[in-house]
Subunit: 146 residues, 2 copies
Amino acid sequence: VQDLFKARTSKQRQVILDELKRVDSHPTADEVYLMVRQRMPRISLGTVYRNLEILAEQGLIQRLDGGPGRRRFDGRVEGHYHIRCLSCLRVADLPDLRVSVPEDEAAALTDFEVTGHALEFLGICPECRRQGLGAANHDAEASYGG
Amino acid sequence: VQDLFKARTSKQRQVILDELKRVDSHPTADEVYLMVRQRMPRISLGTVYRNLEILAEQGLIQRLDGGPGRRRFDGRVEGHYHIRCLSCLRVADLPDLRVSVPEDEAAALTDFEVTGHALEFLGICPECRRQGLGAANHDAEASYGG
DNA sequence: GTATGTGCAAAGGTTTTGCAACTAT
DNA sequence: ATAGTTGCAAAACCTTTGCACATAC
């Protein structure tokens, strides 16, 4: 997470945001780089990464998948959901939670053949809460991301 | 995705699976490497990666976060879910789908302070379906992952 | 004037891969 | 016998960062 700072409006940042609002693909960082370079050939990939991060923190764009932390593995394969601590990145199991996720509706709305879903809860674990690492520091991480 | 092949039972693969079943942390690849090395000091990190991949494909373990594909960005920030094609990895929006996700229950079950959730549908998009890239090739990717 | 931002290039961290030797079937 | 597997090291890949110069406020 970035430090507190007073964001300026740079040409580069505006164009990146523009391009992201313009399309409805969900581009990766280097795809954004390619898009932006057509209007601004001298922009660097590092600048794109930096600004995507900043824009996401400001809540002006949304970061999909990954979120914080690396790929993890789970030896338990029976259906269960997970909850991840946004502070220490640990993952805990939710073996006893049932959620009814309307895969059929999603299929109807998109024409996809829906084969499953991934649902993960986000929050702050008891240990981190005790240490005062509250949710305030992890605001823009909120809901709906996927 | 791996090719079709007849998996053998190697000592290494068994130990990796063992260790993953033994713990209920959700280790990253290099954490698995550290765990396994205590019983098998000469195993290599590459072998760990290869076997985690294979085990996940066989459905014997579960891969969390990331799943296939890289980090993506979305210029639309109003709450909406996504669906990802397991074949071409493209992501589409589901602006009109409402899901009631019981964050309060998750909080009660874990003592986490729950600040949000990430939900993503998985499937095969119409284009890929047309090309015969059916869900059969993407089986173990199914539900519940996070 | 000064904090913020940029381009460039190098470094960082994770994951994948080529290869020759080894092993389960 | 032979297809699958391993260890090792190198490569690939994605993302972050240090720095000197530029720019917005």
